[in-house]
Every structure is written in structure tokens, then in C-alpha cells.
């Protein structure tokens, strides 16, 4: 009889008597049917899309298990459930759809996982002010679908669109594939409603900008559940674009493509999609373009006259750097395939460790960061392939997205740790930021001190003030000891 799985990272658990008492009181708040300690529910909320979770799953273990799962339905319920947990000093882990790639939902100290997916309503679409207020547990694709039905777009299309929640985007400062026009989620968010560990509910105002002191609601952006729980947000929306124009080009060198992008961003254009692939990824994604040149794909959308003007400026910039036009069909192909990550499941079953590492660079080190990270990753024994592309661009720089595939043999965990060690070291040495949009989670907490310097101490002080009993998502963002993973 096998009735329980081994946990590899469980730091501690809460006294079961306390958990049972909490379950009883929670049932009075959300109903008994929305409180569960059954194995199926504990297993399903114990991990996210962190590759380590899949490695351990194959070995019959899980990172850590919660002791209870609750499903609140509204902000008031979240408040009462959190206050109750705070009173009893029970650890709380917020959970959306589990698409995070860095162990951000692993309940290291057990306790209660708050599955937020019942909070899934679009509360209001404000057409006059181009705003939508939406609860944090709504699935991204269903959010966009409801907006489209009303004639709008949310402008946020992460690759995880169909498997992530609005709250997850806000909690880890997500980026969508159309971010160059619409912005990252922190640019799209106008205000947040959130609950602090003691149950305090607070929200910001839906005005364009303020000079009324720091925006305390915005402080929850990127906090990954360590400071409180985001329960809803008011986000910017846009009328569905009048026109969309697609274009693809190739460059002899990656640097030429980067320079072309820098020029058209400097000129003030804001195409929605800008993706520049190295020659390997060009060959992988667009075989007919070969694997010797670097492909740039562009999607420009909005009012027709603006689109035409932007296309004209962009054309001048890319031609000035020696681009060859590749038509538009490659962009259509990308649109069709942009949510397909099936290769990860298939390669894993063949023994591979595949991961993606996204970092934030400025123009002066955008290319050198790519070279340095690639060299470092290829230096790890077992690595078969390292490739990269730039997927989000700004006047000041670009996000670099590295993909690495290795066949390390037996000890996949050791290999996984090694590739991250060398990649983070290379990234930080170049002066780039260690994450652009995947966030920190559990794993990247190991480099938070190097990333933030004394800023991490500021974050710790804020954490201590807002969450004195350390109940919120323990061990994430580098806040709290994660001894078993550090070993």
C-alpha cells in the first residue's frame, strides 16, 4: 500500500490539531465543501510548473504538501480566512493556476493553500475610462474572451495565457507577448485590491496617476504572495485594434537586429510584438529561413493610420541595418504556435532537462549578456543546446529569453542547479537583472541578495511590518531560509 508521497523540501508542518481547528472555522466562512484535506487536493496544489516538480514527480516525490486547501469566493472571505490564519500563525500559500516556473507555490511549511480560482468574475467594464475591474482568480484566456466579447482587449498575452490567472500575472509582474505596445502587467494595472495577513482589505484609486505618496497597492505587484493576497485589480483595456500588420525580416547577425530594434524604439514606434531570434531558434521555428540568419518578427496594431506610419518608420530602421524582408507568413505561423510548449513534455520523457531563463538587459549589454550566458550554459556537462531570443523591448533595453536543453543522466537536480548557478552568475556579471517576467519564486531567491544589495533588507523590513508572523508564502522572494533547497 502506497498512501503518501515523500516530500523533498518540506521545512516543517503545522500542528494537526491547529489545522483541524482552522478547517472547522474556515468551513463556517466558506462552507464545508470549500475546505479540503483530501489527498487529491493536497497533491494538486503542492507544486507549479517548476521543472524540479516534474523531476521529483517521476521519482515519486513532491516538493512539499499543504495540510489544507480552501477556496474563498470573495474578498471578504479571503480577509476572514487570512485573519484566522494569522491569529493561529498558520502558514498560507496563495495558488492560482500553477503555471509559475520557479516553485512559487511550494508550501514549504505546510499549512493552508488558498486556491483563488473561485474568485473569477469580471466585476465591471468601464468603457468611458477604458478600465476593467476583475477578480484575481480568473483564467487569462477567459478574461480576454470576455473583453473581446465587449469589443476590447486586455493587451496581455503571456505564453501562459490559457493556464494562468490575472492574480498570478500581477503577483509575479508578468509580461505578455504584445507587451511592447500594451506594456507589462505593472504598466497595465491601475489599482489593486488586496488583503494583508491580518485581514486588512485595502485598494488603490482608479485615477490615471497620483502624487499622494507611494502607491501602497502597487507594492503588491510582484510580491508573489509574500505580503498579502491580491483579490482584484483594475486594469487598462483598449478597443480591439482597427488594423493589424505583420512583417518578418532576417539579419546576418543578432547584433544587427538588436540595433534595428533600438533605432525604431528610439524613434517612438511601439509595435505590439517584437521578437528577435538567434540563428538556432530561427532554424527551429522557421526552418525555411535556415539557421544562419536571425529572424525578427513584428506585429503592429492599432488605428490604421498609426499602424501605417509605424510600419514605415520601422521599415527604414530595419533596412538601415541590412535586413532582408521575409514576408508575413512567419508571423502567422508564430501566432498559430505561440502557446504550444508540447516539446517540454516530450523532451522530459526522453530524459532531458529543459528550462527557460529570462533576464532583463539594457541595449549596451543586450548582446553580451546573451553571449556570456550561452557560453556559461554550454560549459555545463550534459548541456546539448542553448539558444535565445529577445521577446519584449523598450526604449532602454530588451528582455532576453534563453532556452537550455541538457541530458544530464542520473542526477537531474544537480544539473538543474548547476545551469542556474552559471546562468545567474553570468547574467549578474553583465549587469543585467536576473528576471524580466517569470519572477523569483522559491528557486531564484538564492540570488536575491546579489540582485538587490541593500534593497533586499528594505524588502525584509517591509515584510516584517506587514507579515510579522511570517505566514505568507514562506521562503519565496528570498524571504526566509530555504535550507533544504540551498543544500
Amino acid at each position: 500500500m502506497v498512501d503518501a508521497l515523500h516530500t523533498t523540501l518540506q521545512e516543517s508542518k503545522t500542528d494537526q490539531v491547529l489545522i483541524d481547528r482552522y478547517a472547522g472555522e474556515a468551513a463556517e466562512i466558506v462552507g464545508a465543501e470549500n475546505v479540503s484535506a483530501n489527498q487529491a487536493d493536497l497533491l494538486s496544489t503542492c507544486r507549479d510548473y517548476w521543472p524540479v516538480g516534474n523531476i521529483w514527480r517521476a521519482e515519486g516525490s513532491v516538493p512539499a504538501l499543504p495540510q489544507l486547501v480552501v477556496w474563498p469566493h470573495n474578498t471578504e472571505e479571503v480577509s476572514r480566512l487570512l485573519a484566522l490564519a494569522d491569529r493561529e500563525k498558520i502558514p498560507v500559500t496563495p495558488f492560482g493556476e500553477g503555471s509559475g516556473a520557479l516553485g512559487g507555490v511550494v508550501p514549504l511549511r505546510g499549512g493552508v493553500t488558498f486556491d483563488l480560482k473561485r474568485m473569477n468574475k469580471v466585476r465591471a467594464i468601464d468603457e468611458k475610462n477604458l478600465l476593467v475591474t476583475v477578480e484575481s482568480g480568473l483564467n487569462g484566456a477567459l478574461y480576454e474572451e470576455q473583453l473581446n466579447h465587449a469589443g476590447y482587449t486586455g493587451g496581455h498575452f503571456p505564453q501562459s495565457l490559457r493556464c494562468s490567472t490575472v492574480g498570478g500575472w500581477l503577483s509575479c509582474r508578468a509580461a505578455g507577448q504584445f507587451s511592447t505596445r500594451y506594456g507589462k502587467i505593472e504598466d497595465i494595472a491601475v489599482s489593486l485590491e488586496a488583503v494583508l495577513p491580518d485581514g486588512t482589505i485595502f485598494s488603490g484609486r482608479n485615477v490615471p496617476r497620483t502624487a499622494t505618496g507611494p502607491r501602497v497597492d502597487h507594492f503588491l505587484l510582484g510580491s508573489e504572495g509574500t505580503l498579502g493576497i491580491i483579490t482584484s485589480a483594475t486594469l487598462r483595456i483598449w478597443p480591439l485594434p482597427e488594423k493589424r500588420r505583420l512583417a518578418a525580416y532576417t539579419f546576418e547577425r543578432l547584433e544587427d537586429g538588436l540595433e534595428a530594434i533600438r533605432l525604431f524604439m528610439r524613434a517612438g514606434t511601439r509595435p505590439a510584438v517584437v521578437r528577435l531570434y538567434d540563428s538556432q531558434e530561427t532554424g527551429n521555428h522557421f526552418p525555411d529561413l535556415g539557421d544562419e540568419r536571425c529572424a525578427l518578427i513584428l506585429l503592429i496594431e492599432g488605428a490604421a493610420k498609426i499602424v501605417e506610419a509605424e510600419a514605415s518608420v520601422i521599415e527604414d530602421c530595419v533596412q538601415s541595418r541590412g535586413a532582408e524582408s521575409a514576408g508575413y507568413k512567419h508571423v502567422e505561423h508564430w501566432l498559430e504556435k505561440r502557446f504550444d510548449i508540447s516539446v517540454a513534455s516530450m523532451l522530459f520523457q526522453k530524459g532531458a532537462v529543459l528550462d527557460t531563463i529570462e533576464v532583463s538587459t539594457n541595449w549596451h549589454n543586450a548582446h553580451s549578456t546573451y553571449r556570456t550566458m550561452q557560453e556559461a550554459l554550454l560549459g555545463v556537462e550534459g548541456t546539448m543546446l542553448v539558444s535565445g531570443h529577445y521577446s519584449h523591448v523598450y526604449p532602454e533595453g530588451a528582455a532576453l529569453y534563453m532556452t537550455t536543453v541538457g541530458f544530464p543522466g542520473e542526477d537531474k537536480i544537480a544539473y538543474y542547479k548547476k545551469i542556474w548557478q552559471v546562468a545567474m552568475k553570468a547574467c549578474l556579471a553583465e549587469g543585467s537583472a536576473f528576471s524580466h517576467h517569470h519572477g523569483v519564486g522559491l528557486h531564484r531567491g538564492l540570488w536575491m541578495a546579489e540582485e538587490h544589495g541593500t534593497g533586499l533588507d528594505v524588502l525584509r523590513r517591509i515584510k516584517k511590518a506587514l507579515d510579522p508572523h511570517e505566514i505568507m508564502n514562506y521562503g519565496k522572494l528570498g524571504l526566509g531560509e530555504v535550507q533544504k533547497w540551498q543544500k
Binding site: Q39, R57, F348, Q349
Partner: protein
């Protein structure tokens, strides 16, 4: 008997699930364990002997409507998670794990050959020798005898040589509830009855029965010696060949706005999305208006996999969600007794295609 395809099951278990937005159960419950990958992970752990079934895990793995909504965005063309879960659940019984709340329905199946209990006797067998055997299915028999009368009337109008028989359940409920042997017994009995009747064609309006006859019976070693035709295709054939000619607006006057709810199995498994619409377009006085999602991207009514019996609250919630996709003014028409029942129970008037068609003659 089809086997679980572990490679495909693991593809799903290892995936973050781009299909999550199209899993109606996940969307109404918010429960991670019933997400496609949640169910695949639990099932894979059991199949790999890392965990034994327990009642809770079996209950989670049973939370699948068989609607195949998860295939809309699935990047694995060979993956049929609904089937993988169905085959996996059958192993639980061998381990002595079952879901006690299903016992009354399984007892009904054993005692009355219907999950709903004693049959109402709505069907009068007819026709000694006939070319077509018309199979109504338990759900029409239990919930909508009027549709059977409409079917009979249409067949009579078309002068079809047909018969209806005292039916036993097709066995689908037994399969989705993990009772493979009971399913096999029902299949064998049906095969015997069908073969004895001399008909060359079997027609059914029930998608679950159609799926069972065409795809499950061969797995059970009970392939039927008849041509099996789905109701929408059959009635369309009768209209095209001039045996049925819809006469007038079924509403009796004003133009009627009709929205067709695509049953999941007809739309995604049988790929029958054009046939019912073609029928609707042949009925005078109808204006067909599509709901928010339709065709192969239809969304389930909550009635798949016998959910109206096994998980009635979830079925109701899914039906309510689906109804939000229809305009208030439209008359909803569907071609599945489960869909009709599920949507009807949430307060909307719903007609089956045969009901609408028959009304066009009156």
C-alpha cells in the same frame, strides 16, 4: 480492451495545460485536482505504482465530462485524456476502490438495465421486420418521451421501415463509472438483440449511445453488425432525399430565432456540426443565431459522462454557465437528450432537433 497510453498521459501530466480555460469542471469548481493535468498527474502516479487509489483520488479522476473541450487547445494530437481517465478508472475497482454515491445508479443498471431505474414503458415496440433499428437511449426514455414520439412521427411520415425495441442501456454509464464487466454484459446483450432483429442500420439520437456503439463496443469485443448512423445525419438524409419536407415555421407565424447548442460528442468526436445546421436552415421561418461558442469549439452543458446523476451540482453549474452564452431571445435547440435536460433544468426552454422538426409539420 484499450490500454492506458502512458506516454500520452504523461504528456498531459507534465504540461501546464493550455486547455484549462476549456475544462468546464475546473472553471466552475476552481478545484485544481480536477484540472486536466491534475487528473492526469493523479492517474499517472497510480499507474506508475507511486500511489494507490483512494476514494478521493478516484473521485477527482472521475470529474471528467468526456466533453473533450481540453482538446481544443491541446498540442498533443494523439492525446485523448477523457479516454485515458476512463481506462484508468477501471483499475480502481480491481483495487477495491469505488465511489459509494454511484451505487444506486449501478444497482439500477444491474436490475433494470437503465441507470434511471424502472423503465417507463414509453416505447412500444413496433415493426417485426425493418431495415432501421431506432435506438432512443435511457435518457430520452426517462426524461423526454415526447422526443420519442416526435421521432416516431417523423419516421412514419418518411415511411421508413423501422422498429424500436425494448431497450437495454448501451453500457456507457457502466464504463464511465468504472464497471467494465457490467458494460461488457450490456454490450453483449445489445449485440445479441440487434443482430436478431434483422435490421441493417442502427440510428440513435443519443450521442453517448452513438459513441458507445461505434467506439466502445469494438474495445469490448462486441462490434455491431449494423451500420450506425447519428440522428442528425439520418434526418438530414431523409430531408435531402425528399422523404421529409419541413412545411412551416414551427412557431406558427413570426420568424423564430434559433440557437443551436452543439453537443460535445456530435461536435468534437463525430464532427457533426454542419448537419444539424443544415436541417435548421431547411425549416421555413427560422433565423439561426450562433451562441458565443459553437461548432467544434462548443462548451459542454454539464451532462456528459452521466454527470446529471453522478455530480448533479457541478452539472447544474456548468449548464448555467453555458446558458450565459445564448441570447435571451433565442429558442435553444440541441440534438442530445443530456443537453436538453441539463439546460432545461436551469430554466430555459430547450427543444431537441426532432421536436422542432416534427413541429414544422403541424
Amino acid at each position: 480492451m484499450a490500454e492506458v497510453n502512458m506516454e500520452q498521459l504523461l504528456n498531459c501530466a507534465l504540461c501546464p495545460n493550455m486547455c484549462r480555460c476549456e475544462c468546464p469542471i475546473l472553471q466552475v469548481t476552481g478545484r485544481e485536482a480536477v484540472a486536466p493535468a491534475g487528473k492526469a498527474r493523479i492517474t499517472a502516479l497510480v499507474r506508475e505504482n507511486q500511489l494507490d487509489w483512494d476514494e478521493d483520488m478516484l473521485e477527482a479522476a472521475s470529474n471528467c465530462l468526456g466533453c473533450r473541450g481540453c482538446t481544443i487547445h491541446c498540442p498533443f494530437p494523439e492525446l485523448n485524456l477523457c479516454d485515458e481517465l476512463l481506462y484508468s478508472r477501471m483499475t480502481a475497482k480491481a483495487e477495491g476502490i469505488s465511489l459509494p454515491f454511484l451505487d444506486p445508479y449501478l444497482n439500477n443498471l444491474r436490475k433494470y438495465s437503465s441507470p434511471y431505474g424502472q423503465k417507463t414503458g414509453a416505447v412500444v415496440t413496433s415493426g417485426c421486420e425493418a431495415e432501421v433499428l431506432f435506438f432512443n437511449g435511457c435518457t430520452s426514455l426517462a426524461n423526454n418521451p415526447a422526443s420519442i414520439e416526435a421521432t416516431r412521427s417523423l419516421l412514419d411520415r418518411a415511411k421508413v421501415s423501422y422498429k424500436m425495441i425494448e431497450e437495454d442501456c448501451c453500457g456507457y454509464p457502466a464504463q464511465v463509472w468504472g464497471e467494465q464487466e457490467l458494460a461488457r454484459q450490456l454490450a453483449a446483450e445489445n449485440r445479441r438483440k440487434f443482430a436478431a432483429g434483422g435490421a441493417s442500420t442502427l440510428v440513435t439520437n443519443c450521442p453517448e449511445c452513438w459513441l458507445t456503439f461505434t467506439q466502445r463496443y469494438p474495445d469490448l469485443g462486441q462490434e455491431l453488425p449494423l451500420e450506425i448512423i447519428d440522428g442528425p445525419a439520418y434526418f438530414l438524409r431523409l430531408i435531402r432525399e425528399g422523404y421529409l419536407e419541413p412545411k412551416k415555421n414551427p412557431n406558427g407565424g413570426d420568424l423564430e430565432i434559433i440557437s443551436y447548442h452543439d453537443p460535445c460528442i456530435w461536435a468534437r468526436t463525430a464532427e457533426k456540426v454542419d448537419e444539424p445546421r443544415e436541417i435548421l436552415h431547411m425549416v421555413p421561418g427560422l433565423k439561426v443565431e450562433e451562441p458565443f461558442s459553437s461548432g467544434s469549439c462548443t462548451r459542454c452543458c454539464g451532462g456528459g459522462s452521466m454527470f446529471q446523476l453522478s455530480f448533479p451540482q457541478i452539472a447544474s453549474a456548468i449548464a448555467r454557465r453555458r446558458l450565459e452564452e445564448f441570447s435571451k431571445e433565442a429558442q435553444i435547440v440541441t440534438a442530445c437528450p443530456f443537453c436538453r435536460e441539463g439546460l432545461l433544468q436551469e430554466g430555459r426552454q430547450v427543444l431537441e432537433l426532432v421536436d422542432l422538426l416534427e413541429r414544422s409539420f403541424k
